[in-house]
Structures are given as C-alpha cells and as structure tokens.
Point group: C2
Chain length 492, copies 2
C-alpha cells in the first residue's frame, strides 16, 4: 500500500477510505459490513464518549443496560418502528451448533435447537426498553425516567463504508419517559442542543439545528430533531438525532401512569442518539491530503515530541530535556507523547504523526539544545517555527485553544460559502452540479414534491432549520406557496 493518500480533489471517496485505514482508525473485518475499530480510532471515540457522558449526566441522565436481543413479538409491537427496521434485521433463530455429520471438523446449526420465538439483534432499543419501563412506571412520582445506554446495534446494510454506514455500529441511545407532552418536547430539544454543543465545541464542526420532514423522521417518532453538518465535498451528514415519540411506544406497550389528579394517561417518550458515524464527520470535516487533522479537544495525543540526534550522548541530553518539558506540559493539562522509538527515523515519525493528525509536533535536535529552542509544527495549517523552549509550557495550551477555534472557524466559513439561497429549480440544479453544499429553498410542504426532487437530483431535505425565518415564498419545484425555507443537500 502506497504511503501517500489519494488527493481529495481526485477522488474524495477513495481519499476517505484510504485515510481511515492508513491512519489506523478502523478497517473492514471478515464479517460482512462490520468494522474493526483500531486502538487509535477507538481512543478518539473514547474521548467523545467521555465528554458526551459527562454532558448527559450533567443534564440528569443515568446509564443503564438493556438486552441485545428483542423478541420478535416485542419488535413488532410498535408498527411503524417495526416496519422501518424489519428490512435490516439480523435474526437469531438457533441457540446451539453441533458437529456436522457430513463435514468432519465442521459445525452446523443444531436443528433441534430452534428458538420458539426468533430474536432480533437490536437495531434500536425502544421496544425492549418500553416493555421494561412498563414495570417501572405506575404513578407520576416514577417520572421522569432519564436513561442513556452505550451499546452496539445492528442494521443490516447492503452498501457499507467504515464509520459512515456499517452493519454493526457503536452508539448511545437515550430513552426518556415523561408525564407531560411539554416536558418530553423540552427534553427532545434539550438533547439536540447538547449534541450541537458537543459537536461544535469538541469536534469543531458547525451544525445546523432543525427538524426533519415527515418522510425523514425516525420510524415511530412524531418529530425528529437533528443536527446537520457539511462535509468538504459539499455533502451533508446527519450528526445526531433526537426524537419526540409522543405516546406511540407507551400505547404499543401499554405503559400508563396515574397523574397528580389521579387520572390514568399514557406516558410521553423521547429517544436520542449519536454513533460512531461521528468519526466519519470528524474525518471529513477537517482532514486534508496529508491525512487526519484532529481538533485538540479530541486528540488522544495533543503534542508529540520527536528527538533528533546522531550520537547516544546527544540522545541522552535531549531525552532529559524532553522529559522535563513533557512533565511541565502534562502539569498544564496537555497530553503528550514522547516518540522515542529507535526503530523509526525522524522523517518516518513526522509522516506518521501527520497522517494521524496530532495537533502539534515538537522536534528537538542538538542545535536546539545549544540555542534553548524547539521546532514547533502545527498540523492544521502545516506551519512551523523555531521558538524558545522557555515558557513553551504556557504557550502550548493557548495555541491548542487557538487551533481548536480556527478549525471550527475554517469549517464554519466553508459551510457559509457552500450554503446558497435559490428561488428556482434551475438554480437549484446548477448549484448541486457546481458548488454543491446546503441549498436553502422554498418547498410546498408535501412528501410528493420532496420525493420528486430527490428522484431528479438525489438531494434531500436535511432539515427545516430552527432559525429559518417565516417568509412568503414559492416552492422551487411546484410554485405553490411556502412560508419557510428548508435546507436541501445531497447527503451521506
């Protein structure tokens, strides 16, 4: 495998696939559509998890764990949800293997160990969770229930891509139960805002908050809030969703409660999730032709230090200086890797850390020791400078903050440049073919028009943005009246 990546301008999709593998983030496995998340990729995911988990707990949620399997009878209870996921279910039908009498050394499913009821490997957990909540809720005093689960889920996809669309993926799914509709709606919106805050502040990815149209809603939801991000190739990526489920699941699983007036009512529900798909968004927002670019807030190593020496005496002197510097940086909250491997030359180390997106690289050689300097290189804009080592432990935390902000700003500017208001369908098609990106346009509000536009252009309505002002206009496709622009794009 060549060390160089395909250029984004040549083949964006190929660039992405190569980058994921070469930067040691993930790879395909022997199982169709399932990925192996490698240690470096998983370390980034862990940082995301830790931050999100903190935010969920700060908003009153607790973690719990529910079964991997959903018995078929529960799976089919909420009709729309079942219909939405039936086509992509992995189904367990047997609970034992036995020696295959026709093939010595091989196993086969034991025909006598057939399950009475098939088990669906969870594609999402509303069914199993609401069947459980039924036993937990009698009165308004038992509400709200604010639970999150970190789990693996399986959706059988035919065309898969690492992180973006895999048969098995990791995610978190919040499932809350409330006494009133208003409270459930507030929760739905709150969690969408938590996602937006996380993605913008930690991943440095600007997002548009909005609601989905009916045809893009989660199966079984009354309303789906979402955050939408724009990738460098001008395609949108849905980065998180938060669903107001109304009383659909409570009705399907007969979950009633006695309210504070002594009356029985069905419980109101929300669910919300983000997944390892965020890794895809991270990669496609910031990275470049040299590899990954990581925002400092999510980088497993924020700084890597590479020693440059010819003699073992030089090596020893440098090692001492580096160890002191490393300690000072760590005391200031910076994560540092001292890459002191003797199996690799400095050039190879530079290339690896560039490919893997370490935000700052420090190189120290004998000249630096003489002069009291280091070479400091930024991964994001590929600049480097020689600076005094004295006080560098105070400069670097600030520089990391600057990088974090500049990455966000760069992505923000890109999105603004690639968001176009159009008022005719011709303009709409031209933008899609030339500059791509988000297109803000009027739409008549019907699923029919939405589908027709999708059929003709592959663009879908990503969301009806919360900040889209009310204004009179005409649907770009049918010319019918519209009161609000929606956001179209081709999407991952």
């Amino acid at each position: 495998m060549s060390k160089n990546l395909t250029k984004r301008s040549e083949d964006y999709s190929k660039w992405y696939n190569e980058l994921v593998v070469k930067a040691d983030l993930a790879e395909n496995s022997a199982v169709r559509g399932c990925m192996v998340i490698k240690p470096y990729g998983f370390a980034i995911w862990e940082k995301m998890q830790a931050e999100l988990d903190k935010m969920f707990k700060a908003t009153g949620h607790q973690n719990a764990y529910f079964p991997l399997f959903v018995p078929k009878s529960l799976f089919e209870a909420e009709e729309k949800n079942a219909e939405g996921f039936a086509k992509e279910c992995a189904v367990v039908t047997h609970y034992r293997l036995q020696n295959d009498p026709d093939n010595p050394g091989k196993l086969r499913v034991d025909p006598e160990a057939k399950l009475e009821e098939e088990l669906v490997v969870r594609p999402t957990s509303e069914a199993i969770i609401w069947n459980t909540y039924k036993g937990w809720i009698q009165s308004y005093r038992d509400l709200p229930i604010l639970i999150n689960q970190w789990a693996n889920v399986v959706r059988w996809e035919m065309r898969t891509r690492l992180f973006l669309r895999t048969a098995e993926f990791l995610w978190q799914e919040g499932h809350t139960a409330h006494a009133t509709m208003a409270e459930a709606i507030t929760e739905t919106e709150q969690m969408n805002t938590v996602y937006a805050t996380f993605v913008e502040n930690f991943m440095a990815i600007p997002v548009i908050k909005g609601v989905k149209t009916e045809s893009e809603r989660f199966a079984g939801a009354l309303d789906t809030h979402c955050i939408e991000a724009l990738m460098q190739d001008g395609k949108a990526l849905q980065a998180g969703t938060s669903h107001f489920l109304g009383q659909n699941f409570a009705k399907a699983f007969d979950v009633k409660f006695t309210n504070n007036e002594g009356k029985q009512d069905y419980v109101w529900a929300t669910s919300w999730g983000v997944s390892t798909r965020l890794m895809g968004a991270l990669i496609m927002t910031h990275s470049d032709d040299k590899g990954l670019v990581l925002p400092p807030n999510l980088a497993p190593n924020q700084v890597v230090i590479v020693p440059i020496y010819k003699t073992e005496e030089q090596h020893n002197i440098i090692r001492n200086v580096v160890n002191t510097l490393k300690q000072k940086l760590e005391d200031n909250g910076v994560s540092v890797k001292f890459d002191d491997r003797d199996t690799q030359r400095p050039g190879a180390k530079f290339a690896q850390h560039e490919l893997q997106g370490v935000p700052l690289r420090i190189a120290i050689g004998p000249k630096d020791i003489e002069n009291g300097t280091i070479e400091l290189a930024r991964r994001d804009n590929l600049t480097k400078e020689v600076v005094d080592i004295e006080g560098i432990e105070n400069h670097i935390p600030q520089l990391l903050e600057t990088i974090q902000k500049e990455l966000f700003q760069k992505a923000y500017d890109f999105r603004e440049e690639h968001t176009t208001k159009v008022d005719t369908f011709d303009e709409f098609k031209t933008v899609l073919e030339t500059k791509t990106g988000f297109i803000s346009a009027h739409w008549d509000g019907t699923a029919e028009t939405e589908n027709k536009i999708k059929e003709l252009t592959k663009a879908t309505i990503r969301c009806i943005p919360h900040n889209s002002p009310i204004e009179d206009g005409l649907c770009i496709y049918t010319g019918k009246p519209s009161r609000q622009r929606v956001l179209f794009a081709k999407a991952y």
Copy 2:
C-alpha cells in the same frame, strides 16, 4: 412485594435474588436469560470499569472494538475453543423480517434473506480477533499487541441467575500477542495479578490466586490462571481468569511473524477477562439481611444526607447547612447525595439507603442545628453516633478508608475460618456438609479422580494456589501420592 428481605440463614439463594431486585441493581427481562442492569447497578459497574480501565492502560494496554458476530468458519477454526462454546451459541441465520402473510400485523423471517454463512454471536472473541491480528503482524516489530475490549457477549445458558449466570453479559476481554512464550506467560500472570489487586483493593474481596486444573481450563488455553473468592454461604466464585493460549490460535489462524533472527514462528497469545459476574461477588461477599453493603471505593454515593424537619423554616436552615457540608465533603473527594425529596419520609429514605448499601448516612434535624452536631450512621456495622459537624469533612474520608479496610478484613477472616485442611475423604465430606468453604487437600493429579470427587460431592477443584507449598501427601480419594494441596469447594 414485601419490603423486607428473606434472611440469608433461611434461604441464601432467595435472599440474593430479592436483594438484586429490591436494591434496584438488575432485573430479568422479556428475553430468556438476559438481564436489565438498572441505573443503580450500572453505576457500580461503571466504577468498576473506570478503575479496571485505568489499570489496563497503566500496564500498557489500549482499547479497541471487534465485531459482535463471528462467521461460523472462523468460529470453528480453533477446534477446542469451538467445541467448548458450540453448545451455547446464539446463531444469526437471517438478515431480514417481512410481513407474515398468514398473520396480519405480524412479522416473520424472510426465507429469501438467509445468510450464506451463519454468524455466531460472540461468546468470546479469540476467533474474530486472531483472524484480524493475522493482518497486523508480520515481524517482531509489530509485537507485542496489547489490546482490551469492553463488550457484550452471549452464552446460551439454561439456568440463569442475575449477574452470576446470564445469557448475555458485559465484560472486558484482553487479547495480547507476543513474540515469545516467556513474555506471554508473564502477561498472563501480570493480568491475573491486576485482577487480584482490583478485587482486593476496590471490591474489598480477598482472593486466592492460582491455576486451574486441565478440566477447568478455558477451551483452547494451555493454562488458565484465576482468582477465586469465597461467598458468605461457603461457596466459591471464580472472579476473573487469565489464559495462556500458547500458539493455538496463531496456528488456527496462521499468524506467523519474523523474529529478530529472521526466522518465522507462530505468535504467542493470552486472553483475560472479568465480567458483570463481579457484581454477584460484590453482593454475596458483603451484604446482610438488611440489604446491600458497598465498599466505599465502589459506592456511587459514599455519603447520603437526610434532612429531618417539621417546618419549612427548619427545612431552609438545614438545607443551608447541608449544602455547605456537601461542598466541603466533595472538595475532599467524597461523593455525596443530598436526599431532599419531599415525596418520602426520613424513615423511608433510611430504609432505601440501607437497602442500597450507601456506606455512610448523615441525618440532620433541628436539635443538631442547635448543638452543631449530626447523626452519622455506618452501613457496614449498623452503628451510629452523634458527632460535631465541625471538622466532619476531614473525619469522613478517613472513616471511609476504615470501612473499606474493615470490610476486607471481615471477608478475609470469614474466608480463613472457612478454609479447612483435610487429609481424608471422610473429613472432606464432613466439612462440605457442615462448615463448607474452601478445602485444602491432596489430589493425585488425574482428571478421573477430580471428576469422581465432583460426582460424589459436587465440589470441584477451584485452583492450584500459587502459594501452595510443595509437600508430600496422599490423595484424599485414591491414596496415591501427591506433592501439593489444591483448593476444593462447591462453586457458583
């Protein structure tokens, strides 16, 4: 459901089952043998995870994630491992459901969506991981690989019990690859020691380190190290295992490397794991007839504060005092819950926190405010005292340490009292029927004798303890010569 637990002396097993449910740790689900881990139980598991994860990372391991499914052809590659797990495999055979034409509103497996190759839901991940490592290892420079995975696994069990034996459980599984046998053996032993340290220091459970006999080994291992704990009913519980896998998996998956002399060799392997079963060990070691007793190092809340008041004025005064105290305690690293619910009376709160094992309970009433005191109650020994509030924030961290130590000591003393050396089979049987516990006895080293003793008494060899001295003796069953005592017990 009655609020009181069955007494341990009446029915230990019933006591355990009731406690798990009433203390809100876990419950059975609609899926045969699969449990729901409730927020309070999961919070304890999260504390275990956090500490173990830190210890794994401190010993050089990284986390990663491998697929949930193992294709049948990979599953059967390592024969002994396959044979060991074939009888308890959940098997995915189809990837789609469809509307059932015979039952409107119901779904059925789509007969046209049958997988070409069945997928086993991982009962353990050696097969899928070693198939992956094959692509990662060419030379000794790629070694060692030190990876851990936090995951769910499924082993189809017929008789299940919450935490102790469930069809799906959560665990971590370490999978390491080494250039030499010696290094792999060192790793195996190191991780067993990490487990012992964790279980003793954090869970306050004394353990015996040792190795399993051949018949009790992990399927596919050359050697299984383990830690064994003793529960209050005198039965043993295997709390963690670490396996030296030799070159078995490397051979099954053809994983070779070029060593530093340029020669090809198979890679050496280890794997090691602990699971949510540890929750069972925690409960059965420390808890009493009033409920859970948690060691302070694992308690989600180390201190709970209950206000006692009649008037709202008193309530306000107490609330102010409590908030100040809570802050001081938290500044000293203590986790505190202020139970200020107005839907529950103090007595009900006391009972709940007792049932849920909060190590220290503080009650503050109007008299305490006048006197500058609080009532401080220890959950472990059920003592309480009135103490000055002044300086209590310094006393409590010390007291928590004392409790942690005393819980360990109590469990240690119990184990010592319930460990008996015997030299005849009659004594052996008598001990099993009367005081139970660990029995240290000579054994002739054959699987035949081991099985015979198991058949006759239900006791198994838990391990050959590392600290068991070499001494001449005679097998208690066959009278044949033996050079070392082994540890027998009935076990979970």
